[in-house]
């Protein structure tokens, strides 16, 4: 059964992966990090990504049409995708069976990354991380 480190190392095996982390979006705390981070500081990156994740999780505009179902206190949003000129960021919310506000953050190089594959894999990893 994978722990945080195994999960992050698996994420780093995806093509184009530059860095990955597990972050709490209420506090902005990086619970685990691996590889590089865009501004050379995983803790600062986590705090910034957490702000974005919180807005996406909380604002109704991003909830599914049938309404924001927060069953178990977990957000209805699955993931966030950001692209810029040289990279992608995928933020995947982790649904836990205890109260939490956690997401996986994967940073991918744009030229060698495969966004579709990364998104699918990250979803699987988020599930395995907490279900085993």
């Amino acid at each position: 059964m994978p722990g945080i480190d195994e999960c992050l190392l698996e994420a780093m095996r995806l093509p184009g992966a530059r860095g990955a982390s597990v972050v709490d979006w209420t506090s902005g705390l990086a619970l685990g990090t691996v590889g590089d981070s865009p501004n050379g500081d995983h803790e600062a990156t986590a705090a910034e990504a957490a702000e974005l994740a919180r807005l996406a999780a909380e604002h109704k505009a991003f909830a599914p049409e049938e309404g924001a179902d927060w069953s178990g206190g977990q957000p209805p949003v699955e993931d966030l995708i950001i692209s810029n000129r040289d990279s992608y960021h995928v933020l995947r919310f982790v649904r836990t069976t205890f109260d939490s506000s956690v997401f996986l953050h994967l940073w991918l190089g744009r030229s060698d990354g495969n966004l579709a594959l990364a998104r699918i894999r990250l979803g699987e990893m988020a599930e395995r991380l907490v279900v085993g």
């Binding site: 945080i4 705390l29 619970l31 206190g73 069976t97 109260d99 939490s100």
Partner: protein, 310 residues
């Protein structure tokens, strides 16, 4: 669970004798009030803790708001009465049945490997345990290293029965604690709602609250504090602190004491001169205005409310 030895199982190691050489009386803490005024944030929260990290100490550091367990200078566990323990976090939403928890404690408590047992016996995924435990560790450490802490004590050789999960460095814990203080301060600079009994203000909730904030607001009943609400919801204390500060910033929640103070002139007007209350309110409003570097809508609302209450 409360800090300290497990009832019946795994009493703390007698270990090496308690070292009186570690000064039990002085552990000057940073006082947030100083840090607020744009002064550079002091890098060290607890000189004693830094020293213990340097000497790679193993044992338990006790301060008046909680405890930190160290193994070879790294933080492996933390508990504070201000925030729910791992047992409440794991059982209140059904990640783990209460029976499963107690079984693990009685099976593996004496060997101090309850965490490992939960995973090995298939009760909990390794990732789930790590996420929950790590969250609880930073959470309890935040309260333990709180600004108002008095003297600290360290007992060498004491280990916690949860056993090894995911140790973190003292530096990481201290940085995170300072970062969290700054985060709270940015949301709403007044710390009164952190510890007092909370009440809803008369203000109608005119915006759609995020569900996690709404859940917290539903627990505000004039009696409960942030720490009570965290326990009821099975939610880390810091998470509730953040939501309550947001609700306070929006003028939706305040402390019970403050409501009484503000209403005093209306109910018992003449005997006491109204002047002091008026000036109190004005002073509060002025203080609120000064306290925030970038006044926002919520602040202006609070200011307006305070002026209207005159």
């Amino acid at each position: 669970m409360e800090a300290g030895p497990l009832p019946g199982v795994g009493r703390p190691d007698p270990g090496p004798p308690v070292d009186p050489a570690v000064d039990p009386s002085v552990d000057p803490s940073v006082h947030l009030a100083g840090a607020d005024r744009s002064a550079p944030v002091p890098p060290v929260l607890s000189p004693m803790l830094s020293r213990l990290a340097e000497e790679r100490a193993t044992g338990v550091l006790t301060r008046d708001r909680g405890v930190l367990y160290l193994v070879e200078g790294q933080v492996v566990h933390a508990e504070s009465p201000a925030t729910p323990g791992l047992d409440i976090l794991l059982t209140s939403r059904g990640a783990l049945g209460s029976d499963g928890w107690w079984e693990a404690v009685s099976e593996a408590g004496a060997e101090r490997r309850v965490g490992r047992f939960l995973v090995d016996s298939g009760r909990l995924a390794a990732g789930a345990l790590e996420l929950c435990h790590l969250g609880a560790l930073y959470d309890a450490a935040f309260f333990t290293l709180g600004a108002s802490s008095g003297p600290a004590r360290f007992r060498y050789g004491v280990a916690h029965w949860i056993g090894p999960v995911r140790p973190v460095t003292v530096g990481a814990v201290e940085r995170e604690t300072l970062r969290r203080r700054a985060l709270l301060h940015r949301i709403w600079p007044d710390p009164d709602t952190d510890t007092a009994e909370l009440v809803r203000t008369a203000r109608a909730v005119d915006v759609v609250l995020p569900p996690r904030q709404r859940t917290v607001l539903d627990q505000v009943d004039g009696e409960r504090t942030v720490s009570d609400i965290s326990r009821v919801l099975g939610r880390p204390g810091f998470h509730t602190l953040v939501d309550v500060r947001r609700l306070a910033a929006a003028g939706i929640v305040t402390t019970r004491a403050r409501t009484v103070e503000c209403r005093a002139p209306e109910t018992t007007a003449p005997p006491m001169s109204p002047a002091p209350s008026v000036s109190t309110v004005t002073a509060q409003a002025a203080q609120a205005a000064q306290a925030s570097a970038d006044p926002d809508v919520a602040l202006l609302r609070r200011l307006r409310d305070a002026l209207e209450a005159l």
